[in-house]
């Protein structure tokens, strides 16, 4: 039997087929409730992220970790700043030494300071 031979039966069956969906009685109210709940939640995940971070932070491991990282950051920052300041001071003093031993640099600096 070829598939085309079944077509009138299929068409009849499809014509008889009826779907009667059953809608719960308070479906509309439930839908609005869900919409309201979704709108009440923050759109961006930052707040949720912050909440979970602030819940995680008071745990001993987290607080020790955060303190260590911040201390390390402070130490590195202080070290970098000190190196930079020392370098600047050193450059200024080496220039000052050169001016103190080279009369041409002294005269030149004096000429520029008068201008």
């Amino acid at each position: 039997m070829k598939p085309q031979d079944n077509q009138p039966d299929l068409a009849r069956a499809l014509a008889r087929w009826q779907v009667s969906p059953s809608v719960p009685p308070n479906a509309k109210a439930e839908l609005w409730r869900r919409i309201a709940r979704a709108e009440a939640q923050p759109r961006v995940g930052w707040w949720r992220l912050f909440r979970s971070f602030s819940e995680w932070l008071p745990t001993p491991a987290a607080s020790v970790g955060v303190a260590t990282v911040m201390l390390l950051f402070g130490v590195l920052f202080g070290f970098g700043l000190a190196e930079r300041q020392t370098g600047r001071a050193s450059a200024a003093l080496s220039e000052r030494y050169l001016k103190s031993v080279d009369p041409y640099q002294k005269v030149h600096a004096a000429a520029f300071s008068h201008e």
């Binding site: 303190a67 990282v69 911040m70 390390l72 402070g74 202080g78 003093l93 050169l98 031993v101």
Partner: protein, 159 residues
């Protein structure tokens, strides 16, 4: 939430304290208040207190010579300036002043070199060689024109 804020604030305080203590420990400033450039020299070339004292004496006695040379240079520069204000040609008089300035420069360089060699000899040999290279590159060997190189590179290209 409150505990988290306290932990974060404590972390920040730790960071600030860590930065301040590290800065205090690592920031080096030469101690000599009267001549900080000599303090820098001692630190840079790792001089012992005895070497440092000797170099300080050389430095102070050289300062008198240096001041005299400065006066001569300033006077010669002024003379050249005055002549240049009167003429726009290389007159024999101007040419003579330029020769005098060149002679003065060579005399200055000889005095400077004498001082540098003295200071270098007062240092440990390795540091003495390093000092001599460093100071010559920035003074005598850096000179190429009528006026020595700019002190901070701020006036590069003006001469």
């Amino acid at each position: 939430m409150k505990r988290s804020a306290i932990i974060l604030a404590s972390g920040l305080l730790l960071a600030v304290l860590g930065a301040a203590i590290t800065f205090k420990v690592c920031h080096r400033t030469p101690a000599a208040a009267a001549a900080p450039e000599l303090g820098w020299l001692a630190a840079e070339f790792q001089l012992s207190p005895a070497d440092c004292k000797r170099i300080e004496e050389f430095h102070h006695s050289y300062q008198e010579q240096c001041a005299r040379m400065c006066e001569k240079i300033a006077r010669k520069n002024q003379e050249i300036r005055e002549l240049l204000a009167k003429t726009n040609a290389v007159t024999p008089e101007l040419s003579q002043k330029l020769n005098e300035a060149a002679l003065l420069r060579s005399e200055c360089h000889a005095r400077m070199l004498e001082h540098f060699l003295k200071v270098s000899a007062a240092m440990p040999p390795e540091q003495g060689r390093r000092y001599l290279d460093w100071v010559l590159e920035r003074t005598i060997l850096a000179d190429s024109g009528m006026v020595s190189h700019p002190p901070s590179g701020a006036h590069n290209g003006e001469h």
